[in-house]
């Protein structure tokens, strides 16, 4: 990924040299939904560094804050307080337009429920993203990457859950993102299909050098990560670094 981080016309400016190696750095990141007695504290001060090119798995029970962190790092949501930097650029103070550009050019998403456009074919769903990216993969190529070269013109309703998720991954990687966020990517899949999807994510990480962050309930997924972050009650409980990540096929479900 040798692309310059500063884009023409963009407001995303990197204040630290790209060579410092960190994809993300957060300090005291806090997110509160609602106010008063009904307030929900989703994040209670998160300090975290994610090196570039790593595969990171976020584990934790429901409501522990991992999805919230993913959403904030992905530019989908805003923090209540604290700082979150992407390669030195402060995400928490970015304008909506800047966040939009950030998502458009740097970030790919894979969701638990695939979130494919039901009215578009597999290829068109990928094109949805390649249309607005600067240097995208060919949509057919991206789908070939996830093993769907023969199902280009199928609508989501004609695809199995695993296939739909692979379309979603193809869609996410087609723009050659620097970061790929996956929120429960295997949550709706059976174990065989889930393993295949994880395999694709691992390949993407290896082959494109993209930083991949996966939120999951499945603790076994941790084996394939470079770094495992355990969440509890809106805080990071533990960060484990895995020197030798296991191949996705070997993961016990």
């Amino acid at each position: 990924m040798g692309r310059p981080p500063v884009r023409q016309g963009g407001t995303l400016r990197l204040v630290t040299p790209a060579s410092d190696g960190a994809a993300f750095a957060t300090q005291g990141l806090t997110k509160t939904y609602g106010a008063g007695p009904a307030a929900v504290h989703a994040l209670r001060g998160v300090d975290l560094d994610v090196p570039r090119g790593e595969m990171v798995v976020l584990l934790g029970p429901s409501g522990s804050g991992k999805s919230t962190l993913l959403n904030i790092l992905g530019g989908l949501d805003r923090a209540t307080a604290g700082s979150a930097r992407f390669r030195g650029a402060e995400l928490t103070t970015m304008s909506d337009a800047a966040l939009t550009r950030y998502r458009r050019h740097h970030v790919g998403f894979v969701f638990q429920f695939y979130n494919l456009m039901p009215s578009l074919t597999a290829r068109e769903n990928v094109e949805l993203v390649t249309e607005i990216a600067d240097d995208p993969l060919d949509p057919a190529e991206a789908l070939a990457l996830v093993g769907l070269e023969s199902r280009l013109d199928h609508f989501p309703a004609q695809l199995s859950g695993g296939e739909q998720q692979r379309v979603a991954i193809a869609r996410a990687v087609a723009k050659r993102p620097e970061v790929l966020f996956c929120d429960e990517p295997t949550g709706a899949l059976d174990s065989t299909t889930g393993r295949a999807v994880l395999r694709v994510l691992q390949d993407v990480n290896r082959e494109t050098g993209a930083t991949v962050m996966i939120v999951t309930h499945a603790a076994a997924t941790a084996a394939m990560a470079h770094r495992v972050i355990h969440f509890a009650d809106g805080r990071i409980r533990e960060v484990a670094v895995n020197a030798a990540p296991a191949p996705a096929e070997t993961i016990e479900w």
């Binding site: 909506d96 429920f113 979130n115 009215s119």
Partner: protein
């Protein structure tokens, strides 16, 4: 290559085709109405003008007693006069087998060589007159049709007291007789009034007009002052018994058709905007709800990095596809409808040809109104969606907070089952959404209420006119005013129950610059057979010391009781009198002005004269009575009330009033469209909830109840609001349908409300049934899994 967003657009439209079409149809109908009415009005106006021009209709008509032909040169010398034609006209009676009383007719002379300089005729069938034949006539086509007369047939006419036989050479139309009403009657009636054209020499001989004329026709140069020409013509013709020149605008047929077109213009300015507004409002609501349902997809597009503008543009296109599509359909069918309707009116108005034209402004207005309404609906909601961060937008919307509705739980728990509570809580939870749905349906109902009311008001106008105002069975008109002892003669006819005399004179009523060319009716102090009624429909006495005006006329002249009014009588000594407006009477038909008969005769210095009489007769003896009346030489015409009523009903049903049926039908379709859309959207919004209910074991009927129960409550709430809205809308619409010829009162017609409410309920049931089928077909697994 089609961009994926555009592909999505096309497929989304296809997926929602039923609903998109329903919305487009409602919008389209609003636009259709606008374009159709505009096309109709424009075409009729242009056709009339073209017809007048092609057949050289005079701009000034100057009737008089008798003047030698050389006076025409004096008229030609008036500045501003382009052409002059003198002709002979005279009253006649045509007796046909099967007519209870002879039909009245006007005979008009035609020059021997070639068409007249002014007021030419259009030959519909047969041939023109042979100048050498004194016994040939051309007959007005409408009368011929009404009686099955053909060229070659022979008819008998009484002219100037002598009965003569004629052969019909041809049937003609004439721009000056598009509408032909028997003298003294308001409503045109083809079957009871004829016009015959004859060679000048023959007619001049019959009326003793050799080398003379008794009507001058004038056309004017561009920019000529009509008033100045009228005054000059009056001056020239004064010594020859001039009866007062008048312009085209006061010519009876032109006035009628101009009134009719004006009525259509008002209708077209009032009713279509109401329909369009309702359609626009609906579009606004539907669009906003549809976009709300797209919340997750919007969040997703934003997550990919699409800007708000790009996403907004996508949905804007979606809305516009429906709005513009509907508006285009409306324009297309509006043109088709306008053309068909214009053709119907062309036949009714007896135009020999039709110039069809729609003002492009109508298209622009229609499309712009639809686009603006849709855009307003879209922008409002899109703004709301854009303020959400993508994460929030994509999250299945947070469970709606029903705590506000919790208070009702305590009581309701004991009274209602679980599904009923769900219905009520949902309604209470989102009062604004509920309110919009209620207002939408209420607006749909209101236009139905308004149209049904107006349609009923037409019948009531007729009913009231012939039960409250004109209660006579027969109206007699005398050739000239007779001494009032004729009333006693009439009373002596066996079978005549009641006789009431009247005096009527043509007159111009003036209040400063406002003037009206009509007539004054002299009535007895307390009329019984033909009365004036007040706003409360109680009969008004006719006062000795003033004039009682119909409300429409009082409005036109800008006078109120107590004001002074100048009346120029156009008969006899032609006095100009000044009288006080004594009161205002409810007008149903025409623009009457009443005075006490004695006071009118005094002003005319003709005491004890009557122009005619109203009779109440024993129906069993009507044949004998009519035979006797036909034998009275002084009787110019006999009008039977049932025939007059039929003529009035015909005018209302085939003229400007006829579009009310079409509008009522369109109102019904719009009402249905609104109810159906409401049901569809409610289903779309709740599909997941319903699937969940089915998944946990609710039966189809129970699940449908949750949805349809809400629809039922919304419809029930909408009914009273729709009734109230409908009343006010009805006021506007009935004002739109009222013309100078008849007034359509804004009435509270219980049947109108009943019918509209029944229509809404029926629409609710049909929509409910259609949606219920979808509830039954819900694919539980897919609906619950897919988070689209």
């Amino acid at each position: 290559m089609v961009s994926p967003l555009d592909a999505k657009l096309g497929r989304d439209l296809w997926r929602m085709k039923g609903q998109a079409l329903a919305i487009a149809v409602v919008v389209g109908l609003g636009v259709l109405m606008l374009v159709m009415m505009d096309g109709l009005v424009n075409s009729l106006t242009e056709t009339r003008d073209a017809y007048y021009a092609r057949y050289r209709l005079a701009q000034v008509f100057a009737p008089l007693k008798r003047a030698p032909d050389r006076v025409l040169d004096d008229l030609r010398a008036i500045p501003g006069v382009a052409a002059v034609e003198g002709r002979v006209t005279g009253g006649a009676l045509i007796d046909l087998p099967g007519l209870a009383v002879p039909a009245r007719a006007e005979a008009i002379s035609l020059p021997p060589h070639g068409p007249p300089r002014l007021n030419a005729v259009h030959l519909a069938r047969g041939r023109l007159l042979d100048p050498t034949r004194a016994d040939e006539i051309l007959l007005l086509n409408g009368f011929a049709k009404a009686h099955g007369l053909e060229p070659g047939d022979r008819i008998a006419a009484t002219m100037n007291g002598a009965r003569r036989d004629f052969r019909i050479a041809g049937l003609v139309e004439a721009p000056e007789f598009l509408f032909s009403a028997p003298p003294g009657e308001l409503m045109p009636d083809d079957s009871r009034f004829a016009v015959i054209w004859m060679n000048h020499s023959a007619l001049a001989a019959a009326y003793d007009m050799d080398g003379a004329f008794n009507e001058a026709l004038l056309s004017l140069t561009r920019g000529a002052e009509t008033q100045a020409v009228l005054a000059a013509a009056d001056r020239i013709l004064e010594p020859y018994g001039g009866l007062g020149a008048y312009g085209l605008k006061d010519q009876i047929s032109n006035r009628f058709i101009t009134e009719e077109i004006a009525g259509l213009v008002v209708t077209s300015h009032v009713v279509p905007p109401v329909f369009l507004a309702v359609a626009a409002f609906l579009l606004n609501i539907v669009v906003s709800r549809m976009i709300r349902a797209e919340r997750e997809q919007i969040g997703l597009l934003k997550a990919f990095g699409y800007t708000s503008f790009e996403v907004g543009l996508h949905y804007f296109k979606f809305i516009m596809a429906i709005a513009v599509g509907g508006a285009m359909l409306g324009c297309l069918f509006g043109v088709i409808g306008g053309r068909s309707l214009a053709t119907v009116y062309q036949i009714y108005y007896k135009f020999p040809f039709l110039v069809f034209r729609v003002d492009p402004a109508a298209f622009v207005t229609g499309v712009a109104a639809s686009v603006l309404a849709a855009a307003a609906g879209g922008i409002l909601v899109l703004r709301g969606v854009f303020t959400l961060t993508p994460a929030v937008a994509m999250r299945a919307a947070a469970p709606a907070d029903y705590s506000r509705a919790a208070a009702m739980g305590g009581i309701l728990r004991t009274l209602l089952d679980q599904p009923s509570r769900m219905v009520l809580r949902r309604i209470a939870r989102e009062p604004l959404r509920t309110l919009l749905a209620v207002i939408g349906i209420a607006a749909g109902m209101a236009i139905s209420v308004a149209m049904v009311n107006v349609t009923a008001a037409f019948d009531i106008t007729v009913e009231r006119n012939f039960t409250l105002v004109d209660r006579s069975d027969v109206t007699l008109a005398f050739i000239e005013p007779l001494p009032d002892r004729v009333i006693h003669d009439l009373r002596r006819i066996a079978g005549v129950i009641e006789v009431e005399p009247f005096r009527s004179v043509p007159a111009v009523l003036r209040n400063g610059p406002q003037s009206y060319r009509g007539g004054i009716s002299g009535l007895v102090a307390e009329p019984r057979l033909n009365r004036a009624v007040g706003a409360d429909l109680a009969p008004l006495p006719i006062r000795e010391d003033g004039v009682l005006l119909g409300s429409a006329l009082a409005e036109l002249l800008g006078v109120a009781p107590g004001d002074r009014l100048e009346i120029e009588v156009r008969e006899g000594r032609r006095p100009v009198i000044e009288v006080t407006v004594a009161g205002v009477a409810e007008t149903l038909i025409g623009s009457p002005a009443y005075m006490r008969i004695e006071a009118l005769n005094r002003a005319l210095k003709e005491p004890g004269r009557v122009s005619g009489a109203w009779l109440r007769i024993d129906a069993a003896q009507s044949g004998e009575i009519f035979r006797k009346l036909r034998g009275m030489p002084a009787v110019a015409g006999v009008t039977v009330a049932t025939e007059a009523r039929a003529a009035l009903e015909k005018v209302m049903d085939s003229g400007a009033g006829a579009v009310r049926y079409l509008m009522t039908a369109i109102a019904a379709v719009i009402t249905f469209g609104i109810v159906y859309n409401s049901a569809r959207i409610a289903f779309a919004e709740r599909a997941r909830d319903l699937a969940s209910l089915r998944a946990i074991g609710f039966t189809r009927a129970e699940a449908a109840f949750v949805l349809l129960g809400e629809l039922a409550v919304i419809i029930l709430l909408a009914l009273p609001i729709g009734a109230v809205l409908g009343y006010f809308m009805g006021e506007a619409v009935s004002a739109g349908f009222s013309t100078d010829l008849y007034r359509v009162p804004a009435l509270f017609v219980p049947e109108g409300y009943g019918a509209a409410a029944a229509a809404v309920l029926l629409a609710g049931m049909v929509s409910g049934w259609l949606v219920k089928r979808d509830v039954d077909r819900l694919d539980l697994v897919a609906t619950l899994k897919a988070r689209e």
